[in-house]
């Protein structure tokens, strides 16, 4: 049972863990240097032995702590989830201890968080990009990265030589494309909200 007693005993055992506001499953804040120990405890003593998700959050350039790592665990005994938030140290080049040693499933999740947010997971056995190609210079899910993308060369030189292709920004051209949702189907098909600008004719300021 995940009840007040359960929460209290957890908080009592770990001074670096605190309760966080939550509307669904039990959510806790944890200091990054205690995360490995805390997760091991949850896995071995509290039956939270399934890592459901591990990802990052970028709170924006102005935030005091810019990057947070969020971990979802599931217990098949409690039949419930548990969420752990933990801040990444250093806003410029965020760092976080890898939990791969506790949950091997975290391996690819951490690679993805590294790929998208640039959070370095120290102690990870194979920390390289998983979605974008290795030489990609940016971290696309950071708040300062434009949705359309940034001009960079294509990763294969020989292909570039023949085709002259490159990674080009693709602005939404008045998107996002939404349906008005009523009327005849032909009229309510998804359309750009603002069609006054395109790739050729720039968006009026």
């Amino acid at each position: 049972m995940i009840d007040q007693d359960f929460t209290d005993s957890l908080l009592e055992k770990f001074s670096s863990v605190s309760l966080r506001h939550h509307d669904d499953c039990l959510t806790l804040d944890c200091e990054p240097n205690a995360i490995v120990e805390f997760l091991s405890h949850l896995r071995d003593e509290e039956t939270f032995d399934l890592l459901v998700d591990l990802t990052g959050i970028d709170h924006g350039q102005k935030a005091e702590v810019r990057y947070t790592v969020v971990i979802h665990l599931y217990s098949r005994i409690h039949r419930n989830y548990l969420r752990v938030h933990s801040p990444a140290v250093n806003n410029e080049s965020p760092e976080f201890p890898s939990v791969e040693s506790v949950f091997p499933a975290a391996n690819w999740h951490e690679r993805e968080a590294f790929d998208m947010f640039g959070i370095t997971f120290s102690g990870h056995p194979n920390l390289k990009r998983i979605l974008m190609w290795d030489e990609y210079p940016y971290f696309p899910l950071r708040k300062d990265f434009p949705l359309a993308g940034i001009d960079v060369p294509l990763p294969a030189e020989d292909v570039v030589e023949v085709t002259d292709a490159s990674v080009e920004p693709a602005p939404m051209m008045g998107g996002p494309f939404v349906s008005s949702g009523d009327g005849m189907m032909s009229d309510s098909e998804p359309r750009a909200k603002d069609e006054s600008w395109t790739e050729q004719a720039e968006k009026p300021v």
Binding site: L131, M132, W133, P140, F145, P146, L147, A148, G149, I150, L154, P155, A156, V159, V162, T163, A165, V167, E168, P169, A170, P171, M172, M173, G175, F177
Partner: protein
């Protein structure tokens, strides 16, 4: 009867067929298109449907899907081409023997589709010359069949003798 067709009248010619080399070559090519299924996303499911019994692409002589580029001559790009995958698509295209054709199946392969983002190539024609575009997200199997028949028409109009080898550079359409 047009010059581009194979004409044979047994009463007049006996065992001899008089025609143009182009017509014969194109006729042979067009009736044995071996597609290379470049299935990259959801459109590939519809490509499979086109090959299965209900729509049966073999009615039109192009059912021999080969997963080796060396054995195929028509690449059907069915799906979202990411920038990371673009290199692979081009390399596989390069490995196909001449003559070769490309069908861009669906909105994604044709234009990037709904993915206007940092990760998706806005149309596979950026890296390979596309012969036929198919609209739809995904296109119905009939639409793909229609595209393949259009491709056959296109093949039958090619000057195959003077253009025995289509070099990728001159064949680039964009």
């Amino acid at each position: 009867m047009s010059l581009n067709e194979v004409a044979y009248n047994g009463k007049v010619e006996g065992d001899v067929i008089v025609t143009k080399a182009d017509a014969v070559i194109n006729w042979i090519r067009k009736h044995s298109v071996w597609p290379m299924p470049m299935g990259l996303a959801c459109c590939a499911i519809e490509l499979m449907a086109a090959a299965a019994s209900r729509y049966d692409i073999s009615r039109f002589g192009m059912e021999v899907m080969r997963f080796s580029p060396r054995q195929s001559d028509c690449m059907i790009v069915a799906g979202t081409v990411t920038y990371k995958m673009a290199e692979v698509v081009r390399r596989i295209y390069d490995q196909m023997g001449d003559p070769k054709w490309v069908v861009a199946m669906g909105a994604c392969a044709s234009t990037g589709g709904m993915y206007r983002s940092y990760a998706v190539m806005q149309g596979v024609d950026t890296i390979v010359p596309v012969d036929v575009y198919v609209s739809g997200c995904p296109p119905r199997p009939e639409a793909l069949l229609d595209a393949m028949i259009k491709l056959q028409d296109k093949i039958s109009d090619e000057s195959s003798v003077s253009n025995l080898k289509r070099s990728p550079e001159t064949a680039m359409v964009n």
